[in-house]
Symmetry: C2
Subunit: 343 residues, 2 copies
């Protein structure tokens, strides 16, 4: 895949222009674009500007409303329900994040439960923005069904992503952003395309039997990390993000790829905790530095691969991209330029 | 192991008497006893009244202070730091839970970060009590080191337990309570004692190489669920519960079994979200019933083992114990009776 390099501000302008041309109001397009461009800065290309054609492709089918007026309903000083009204996911996500941050500033901790949303990008950008404001965060979303309940043989749960971030007044935040399957479905598609067997433990066939046959796995389902533990986490994420928010959950969530013209009604949960209220920033920075030093000093099993903190690789990509330009796929860039009408 | 059956209120009185005789104030002993007795109701015997001799055994060594005056420092309307002052863990935990619930009632969501604590029992009782008050909860604790960072070969992380609970106005709450290793260290000890090999993926030897030799595993470390994902969760739990709370973290946490006379300075995090502010109870009950029905209707891989929700087995044990008496080990009961001075 040919790569292109582009400065962050140029990529942000381009993504904003594409989303605006796709029907969004310019200011809101810039907010949504910020999430996707941050994803590309972190090197999370499958969740960056490459998603713009997919989001906008659903607009003429009635599957997404780029003009949706997202509504924040504050039900308590630090708790809000955000009505996404089937808007572009990262815009709805930004409204959720902002509502949670507002609660955190007022009360020390704040939460937003989001309904009526769509794919909102990766979690890392939201956790990063929360950390920039001194907030730790817990963020999760439900998703269309690709995982079977533990002991079952029918997909009824999404590969629900969840993330936790902790700010560091002395440097980079530590951010975990993970989905709950052992491997992503996209990786199984890659193995199937190459005719290669899967590693054990990735997937089950349609009968619920563990399989290393990628084609059989595509007809079956993904296996959760840690068996019943990953299953349990996927259930709890769906209860928090989907059920409590008033969104769809489990098999009620529609799949954008199978029914692009139907609203997904995804749910998210955003929790932000204001760490600046917990004590002195210098002391917090010293403790974060000590924490990182202890982890980094772990003798590695393979001397060539030092031990890292969650999100550390992505933060390295972020700093490199800010210095040297954001690396994206040339084909993805071209498609977004076409949508923006700049080529 | 011989079993005994005892009514819940009798077990609560007995545990309270034992903790009081061990140095706690009677009212506080009753609070701590409630957590341990709930653990036994849920069938979580390793974290129930069997812990009383262990907790109190550290008192004469100066390792735990049963007279500690736990202090709640409210740093924002919905955020508190709880100073455990090396008190009995479940008492400190109850103070943390109460502080989080107070914030949730006031602001919709509340949190408590707890420092200076000890082993606080399992998470399920706290999540259950939160659910009884209509609150969803996210609760976690750090622990002494038994897990190596991913790619490392030296234990620097605890098998940090985390739990998530969601109340159900129409029935039992759904509660996940899990540690972050594939298997508990106690299970590896059992295999070693029986001279049996371990299943693959449970543990590594002292050099960080995966092993099925239980004796070698005891000199090595536990492997986290889902490899780097479980590692990431263990790090984030320690950052939230240990670092942000002002407690010890990573290798700073002392092991009660190796140094019973030294304060552990464990940290916990309690987050409570008031779901009664999210809408009508009847509607919430209907959605919870629908959620459970979808999960339960999953065709099982093994027809003899229907698909269950997280915590469902423990809730069954709970109801049975309330009906028929709490089943505990006769030896554990005898030891608590001895401490209480009732035999």
């Amino acid at each position: 895949m040919t790569e292109a390099s582009i400065a962050e501000d140029k990529l942000l302008d381009l993504a904003t222009a594409a989303l605006t041309r796709g029907g969004m109001r310019a200011e809101e397009a810039a907010e949504a674009a910020r999430i996707l461009v941050l994803a590309d800065l972190f090197g999370l290309r499958t969740h960056g500007i490459s998603r713009i054609p997919q989001y906008l492709g659903r607009v003429p089918l009635g599957g997404i409303d780029p003009q949706a007026v997202v509504q924040v309903e504050r039900v308590a000083p630090a708790l809000a329900i955000v009505h996404g009204r089937n808007g572009i996911g990262p815009l709805v996500g930004m409204r959720g994040l902002d509502a949670a941050l507002e609660g955190a500033r007022a009360a020390g901790i704040g939460a937003a439960l989001v309904r009526g949303s769509n794919h909102f990008g990766p979690i890392m950008p939201y956790a990063f923005l929360a950390a920039e404001q001194g907030c730790a965060s817990i963020i999760a979303s439900n998703a269309s069904t690709t995982i079977a309940p533990w002991g079952g043989k029918d997909t009824r749960l999404g590969n629900n992503p969840m993330g936790i971030g902790v700010p560091n007044p002395g440097g980079d935040p530590v951010i975990l952003d993970m989905a709950l399957s052992v491997a992503a479905r996209a990786k199984i598609r890659e193995h199937a395309a190459r005719g290669e067997p899967l590693p054990e433990g990735w997937a089950a066939d349609a009968e619920g039997r563990p399989t290393t046959d990628a084609a059989a796995a595509l007809k079956g389902f993904l296996l959760p990390v840690g068996g019943h533990k990953g299953y349990g986490l996927a259930v709890m994420v769906d209860l928090l993000a989907g059920l409590l928010s008033g969104a769809a959950y489990l098999t009620h969530v529609r799949a954008w790829d199978k029914e692009p013209g139907v609203a997904q009604d995804l749910g998210h949960v955003f929790i932000a905790l204001d760490t600046t209220k917990l004590g002195d920033a210098a002391q917090m920075a010293a403790r974060m530095a000590d924490f990182a030093a202890i982890i980094h000093a772990t003798p590695p099993a393979d001397p060539a691969r030092p031990v890292m903190l969650p999100g550390e690789r992505e933060m390295e990509s972020f700093h490199r991209a800010r210095r040297e330009g954001v690396r994206v796929s040339a084909a993805d860039l071209r498609r977004v330029e076409e949508i923006a009408g700049t080529v």
